[in-house]
């Protein structure tokens, strides 16, 4: 679809906004609707839009499928890691209160941490699914 100038220019303008909105939803999730899941999907949508207009190869150069696989696993590992960190600091699994001395700060830190893990996993999984569907040729 890269022969349409209007589409190309509008996409170029929109992609940073979409990514910024994704990050906003990710890190503002404690105050407004949103969280890792929604943010991950919106962030992945930016890459999907890019590859719809500019072709799949460009998107796969920016985020190679292999990197997406590793990041998807890392998101889950980050989540479990926070749980186990609480475990080793004397609390229960995923009990954030032991992470810092201040209860509220510890809870916020834990929530931001696991939301980040969820966000990374969801974004890269959505991207992986899109790559595997769009990367196949009809036969």
């Amino acid at each position: 679809m890269n022969q349409y100038v209007v589409l190309r220019v509008v996409t170029k303008l929109m992609i940073p906004v979409i990514m910024l909105y994704g990050l906003y939803i990710q890190f503002h999730g404690e105050y407004s609707p949103g969280g890792g899941f929604q943010a991950g999907i919106i962030f992945a949508a930016a890459f999907v839009v890019y590859s719809l207009i500019y072709g799949l190869d460009g998107a796969q150069e920016a985020v190679p499928p292999e990197a997406a696989h590793i990041l998807a696993a890392l998101g889950v590992v980050l989540y479990i890691g926070i749980g186990i960190a609480a475990f080793f600091l004397g609390g229960n699994f995923l009990e954030y209160k032991v992470l810092l001395s201040d209860d509220h700060a510890a809870e916020t830190l834990g929530i931001i941490g696991i939301e980040l893990g969820v966000g990374i996993t969801v974004a890269t999984v959505a991207l992986t699914l899109f790559y595997s569907f769009a990367g196949r040729e009809s036969d």
Partner: protein, 172 residues
């Protein structure tokens, strides 16, 4: 009405578009019910990414549904009617919608709505329920999503092999 159209129409491209509309309608319904977090998810996943994936599938297969005309299966109709009647009978025992005396509203909900800000320290109680009180639940969700990706990769392949092969062809 959109749901009926989805069932009746045989052109899968139109069905994909209609299911996007259905997701968007569901999202507006969630907004009306004050469930903004769910609405955001429904709009992003149902109306956004899912449609793209479905279109990708259609590009790989065909956009016409094959019609099998085998007559009506009366036994299947009977099973569906009986199961549906049983489910509807089951809902009669449930508390009415928005009933303040429902068990869900007398035990945990007041605790979450009134004390979560003091206990967790963040204003959005949906996030504090999801990520703190129900953190292991959310961990399960994250693992399920990861498992879905692994499954798709096993079935479809990542496209990386094909890309490498194409590169080698370019070099030779």
């Amino acid at each position: 009405m959109v749901a009926i159209a989805i069932v009746r129409i045989r052109n899968l491209f139109a069905v994909t578009m209609l299911s996007g509309i259905y997701s968007l309608l569901a999202a507006t319904l969630f907004v009306i019910l004050d469930a903004v977090d769910v609405a955001l998810t429904e709009a992003a996943v149902g109306a956004g990414i899912m449609i793209i994936l479905m279109l990708g599938t259609l590009a790989l297969t065909t956009s016409k549904e094959k019609v099998h005309d085998k007559g009506q299966n009366l036994l299947a109709l009977g099973v569906v009617v009986v199961t549906g009647a049983g489910l509807i009978y089951g809902t009669l025992d449930m508390p009415h919608f928005g009933d303040p005396d429902a068990p869900a509203h007398t035990h945990l909900s007041p605790h979450f709505t009134q004390e979560s800000v003091d206990e967790i320290g963040i204003p959005n109680m949906v996030t504090s329920v999801l990520a703190s009180y129900r953190a292991i639940d959310t961990l399960g969700e994250a693992v399920v999503i990861y498992a879905a990706a692994v499954g798709v990769l096993l079935v479809l392949g990542s496209g990386a092999v094909r890309r490498r092969r194409r590169k080698e062809e370019d070099h030779s």
